[in-house]
Subunit: 350 residues, 4 copies
């Protein structure tokens, strides 16, 4: 019944073992070990292209670093109002860019449309210094609403971004969940659709602490080593992170872990649809599932040991939730089980 | 013969095991797990006082956060010219404070004296806005020169700092090495001498990645949660770090690891003193040892598989190193052995 | 017919004369001259209280400095979506605070209501570091829409701000226009209503370049000298600015200038109401007047020598402007005349 | 006897008159008036090349903007230890660059030599992110010591800068004083010697408030409008500054004013050399003159109405000033007279 967050789970056994295995012996620090190099090469294979890989400690650091790499004076980034960047990172992106502005784009199901992006970004022109100049647009895949941009949706945002001189960043804190949901390759979901860089998250999908900013566009990466260093995210024993990623990619572990949590997500959707005590807030296809329930009921279920969180009501749902109701989020992780779903079901439907 | 750095070693077995042990099961993220709380309590016991503990990913982050906590407009921090803060952190302290200035204090053996601190800090007054205002002084224990401030030396700097309204920070990247060298308690080396906060490093002493800013002065810690968050150093699965610290403190592992690397350091000193191919640059008592050798010789030893690095010549040694010589640093770690020392000795003295 | 902006006018004759008069002779720099001190004293008299006065070069600098004075890590300020701070300052407030966030509050007629402020500011709590912490709310008086907050409206915002730990800032780029419109004293419009600081603008009302941040709350002003200095806004020959302010306040010149431009504003309102080619967008009582006209018509009038600007359509007016229409702004200044209004009228109504 | 500073003088009559003359009539704001354009063209003529001109309110703003234009992550600028940038700007350059570092270069007579520049800048390499990367070197002309770099000295620094990928900035707060002393053209002293940008100061030489960053290298100027805006230094009524510059350049007024203050400076040198109560600290050829006197004597002269300031003893003079002596600075301005020198002489030599 523990659906609080996918970052409440520990580490997958094979990732834990890999850490143990690589804990012995000497190796150069600061990203220069053989393991570090080899995992960077794996990223190149996974993405089927030359790319630069910058390991950092948190998703917040990866997202902020992305914004910092493209920052200009008066620089502005566009992202969905619910994006982690804007709603959960304590101002890190603004801080790490020395004053960059995040402009919220609204849209249902956690997604930016080309039209909404255009409307919000239009006033920010590089020839009008009284407002600010656009630098990048960030999309979250899978989104904070548990949905996924389709490949053609990514392409559409990409075209609008490109026409307006905006770099396209993807916050992939739940990259693997989206990938297995869309059943496509990493390259198809990213640079082949015009994505310039990805915050590639392993932590929510079975790693202890493994995040990387993957940059496809070499121009963007120019001063990146200095940017990461001044953020305090150049780790000395980088091996501790690459050891995790090695196991993560080996034999498709990352995809298996994501498939598992998505499938538990689907069980949660079904369970909700079959219940008359709760209703599905919107359809989602990954490991995050949203439902509406009476405040009073939810409170009882939490008392009974269930774990899930309140979620702020998005604009498109306003008016559809009555005064004694509230929106809640369930998150499945790599250690969630069908038994957890059943247990939650019996608490809800008792 | 691998004396490149103490961050080239992996993780001590008991730390690695602890990570494996804590990788299972659900626990609240962002520092709220039972393990996180329990390790914070351990820090309080270790330091014999109430203190706030902020886990961060790197020593650079801890040092920068310290400066950020006390930053004021036009704010300046004072540290030794060779301090990691000034010489090895890529401008992170300046960046994380939005423009803080580091003022270098010179002095032999990596140490600041009250007199040198006073001379450098005097012009920075809170009533003269044309220059800047002093905020803190940072001392490194053990120093970048492998030496240690004695307790009375710390006290002397502390008194001068305090008289001049400066907060006293200790960069304890090698805290344990200093502690076992001085054979005193953590409290005696810190808050009992007037130290207000410590960058407490575990990484160089057998952890994978375990650093904490320990703050004794509650006023300083006011906005610290926001500061850490905006640096991108609030980890979701904080457990991965507290699991390391749990093992680190258990049964005095941390002191044993430091005693070991210090004792290998002492063997290196002896080996150097007994050689006529190299000479000791200055006496040091921890795991960092400095020697002068002919460039040409050093080059051969490196070719023979020895690992050590060039070190910039400090001011007090200028004139004592001839044109064909160079200063080098050896660093012993928790996995260094007497055999490593012997192997190096035979390469040097062959 | 020149209604482009009140900053297209030069300087009022008495202000120009004062500059000439004070251009001779020696006087200490950096705010320490007798004239500087005397004008500071005048500010104290004008506001009938002890206040700190910080002369800066632009309204953008005054507003940014206000935000900087109260900035905290993860700090957020709330202001109307159309506020100069958010819509016309090129990211200066974010930059000058090292990453502060501006949160837009919507509301008709350029005004924030206590309810809208509460709704937007509520999620920003000092105990939840994942979002950010509120620091201040800024209201513009008179507003960007040419309207004024009534004294009780200011008081209502002030109470909500105060209950939520927010400092209250007033952007007074057109302070005098509001003051003569409300027919009250400076103290009644500011600190007696709970305003903590005012960006006091002289430039739009007949000065060359004369702006000041006036701070009523001494705690806020603590590091202000350093803040201004690091913004590059401590002027050496401060006299050039205080000479302007001396003439500005003498014999109520500032109020006369504002009364004049407001009265021309009123003539513009009347002219628009009497025309069937344009319609008043909303009632305004100061020197800024907004009308809706056909794009095609406006273009002709501009060709005929009239000067006015497009204005972005505010949210509350969406749907009330048809596709071939557009919103325009007229601004009267101290040199505008009734003849200018008549000339514009004949161009519009010809 | 008033030799406190050249910024204690007001404005030259013709500059004051120009302000009066241009105070009437309408003109576009934010640098778009005819006068603004015409003065920009004058700058192009004065420097005999295409250049971009950015008017800002203070020398601190011009210097900080210069550093900001070339800032990179981990960016470092090199300047003389006594440079205004490092010693008198309250951390503005560091703040305006979001954490840039200023590295002090020592050298006698306020000058940087190619050798000293090389020694200090060498460790800062764009391929070693643990320290920082060099961005620019700033030289002050005339220097804080009242001396001037010869054309060949500028060229030598320029060559070293260029070889090491550093942009060359000139702090020209006293540009005119240097120019008339060297008796060369603005172009010969700047871009023909490899200078990339100049902080061109008018304030210390008879203007009220007139400073400009002049950029010869168009690549550097890319985002400059946004940089100035976010510093709060885009003035609405830019005319008030260009009106000053118009008069400044007309009929060589600026050179006449500088010739005058330099010649008073020379009279001060002579007076000092002829006195047995004071001695010249070092030879200077502009309007700043430095002498050594007994503390006790100086105190009497100040009591008698003389105005001059203490000056920190530069490194190269240490040991040459005895315990009861002190270094003092005299600054002549456009309103200083030979009678002032005589009056000071009689006070000193009475």
């Amino acid at each position: 019944m523990l659906f609080g967050s996918d970052n409440w789970a520990g580490a997958a056994p094979r990732i834990s073992e890999s850490l143990g295995r690589h804990s012995v012996g000497y190796a150069p620090a600061y990203g220069d070990s053989d393991l570090d190099k080899s995992v960077e090469a794996t990223f190149n294979e996974v993405f089927e292209t030359d790319c630069r890989v910058f390991f950092v400690g948190t998703g917040t650091a990866a997202n902020s670093m992305a914004f910092a790499l493209v920052m200009k004076p008066g620089g502005v980034a566009f992202c969905h109002r619910e994006a982690h960047l804007a709603a959960n990172e304590g101002g890190a992106p603004e801080f790490m860019t020395g004053g960059g502005r995040l402009c919220a784009v609204d849209g249902p199901l956690g997604k930016i449309s080309p039209e909404s992006l255009l409307r919000v970004s239009e006033p920010y022109s590089s020839s009008f210094n009284h407002l600010g100049q656009g630098t990048m647009v960030s999309i979250t895949q899978s989104t904070e609403a548990g949905t996924c941009y389709s490949l053609s949706e990514i392409e559409a945002v990409s075209e609008t971004a490109s026409k307006n001189g905006l770099v396209l960043h993807m916050d992939g804190a739940r990259f693997a969940n989206a990938l297995v949901d869309l059943d496509c390759s990493p390259s198809e979901m990213t640079w082949k659709r015009g994505v310039d860089m990805v915050s590639f998250g392993g932590t929510k999908n079975g790693c202890w602490c493994a995040e990387a900013l993957v940059v496809f566009n070499p121009e963007i990466a120019a001063s990146s080593e200095f940017v990461r260093k001044q953020m305090g995210h150049l780790f000395s024993k980088t091996r501790f992170m690459t050891a995790q990623f090695q196991a993560y990619f080996e034999d498709g572990l990352w995809l298996d872990l994501a498939r598992h949590s998505n499938s538990i997500g689907n069980e949660l959707v079904e369970m909700i649809q079959n219940s008359n005590r709760v209703r599905l807030a919107w359809p989602s296809s990954t490991n995050q599932v949203f439902f509406v329930a009476k405040r009073e009921d939810a409170s009882k279920w939490l008392d009974a040991g269930a774990r899930f969180h309140l979620f702020p009501t998005p604009e498109f749902l306003e008016g559809e939730i009555s005064g004694d109701e509230q929106l809640y989020r369930l998150v499945a992780s790599f250690i969630s089980t069908s038994d957890d779903v059943k247990a939650l079901s019996s608490v809800i439907n008792q």
